[in-house]
Subunit: 136 residues, 2 copies
DNA sequence: AATATAAATGAAAACCTTTCTCATTTACAC
DNA sequence: GTGTAAATGAGAAAGGTTTTCATTTATATT
């Protein structure tokens, strides 16, 4: 039940928050922009403002319910947080997004930050390319 | 001579292009936003419009003279292209940028793209953190 | 050196995603 | 049920970047 997730996250249980969570949980695409979520809500018959969608997604991010990807050039993309850190491959033709985890890379990043005297707070890695389907 | 670089890149030799190239070559900071370049031009006494700075930087990118970093949340940053690919560490406090190259990461990225059937066209890796100076 | 012409420029408007403002509505503790 | 703080919707605003369009400039040609 979404209400429980919201309460657990310290957020008041409101219709926009329930519906946005529903969308994220049931959507065919795991990675969605605020606009995507907004459109899905409209199709669902829910008249929730885009500003509210942004607000809710940002709150969800703060509460650890979703994470935000900052993709090159474009808009932000959100996905349900499942606790497992991973990075992304993006198809530049069809915008499909795939996920991967690579411990070697994770470890090298930590080593590089340490080497340079940086206290690492975050990192972002995107591999851009043409997915199998889109290779003519 | 900047004129030669421009001609070689197939660009007409104009004052804005020469001056922007001069700025990039002589600036104390290797990574500059369009706004940074614009301000440097003003200090130099050159009244070149911000729109032109953006246009010129984008053309330079197309010509392979500069590369563009798309940093999280903020504005784009440009740097002279020197042929050597590298990635970046960014201080979230002072915005200082450091560079690094890691062949292990590069190779893992290629392997992951291959594994997923992606024809890799590009990749971007940013490590965010607090630099040595900024650690209280 | 003067001319023609396509390209480049400056200023301002437009763009696009995201955030903010503020009046109104809602959730929830009492 | 009531009261109050929090959340919402609509639209304005923000901020970086791009576009538009009239004017200027670089360069090929005479
Ligand atoms: Mn993901
Ligand atoms: Mn660099
Ligand atoms: Zn594809
Ligand atoms: Zn710093």
């Amino acid at each position: 039940m979404e209400s429980q997730d919201l309460r657990k996250a310290g957020l008041k249980v409101t219709l926009p928050r329930i519906k946005v969570l529903e969308i994220l949980e049931s959507a065919q695409q795991r990675h969605m922009s605020a606009e995507d979520v907004y459109k899905a809500l409209l199709e669902m018959g829910e008249e929730i403002g885009l500003a509210t969608v942004y607000r809710v997604l940002t709150q969800f991010e703060g509460a650890g319910l979703v994470s935000r990807l900052s993709i090159e050039g474009g808009h932000a993309v959100f996905e349900l947080e499942d606790g497992s850190h991973h990075d992304h491959l993006l198809c530049v033709r069809c915008n499909q997004i795939e996920e991967f985890i690579d411990e070697v890379i994770e470890q090298r990043q930590r080593a590089i930050a340490a080497e340079k005297g940086f206290q690492m707070t975050d990192h972002s890695l995107y591999i851009y390319g043409i997915c199998r389907n889109c290779q003519s």
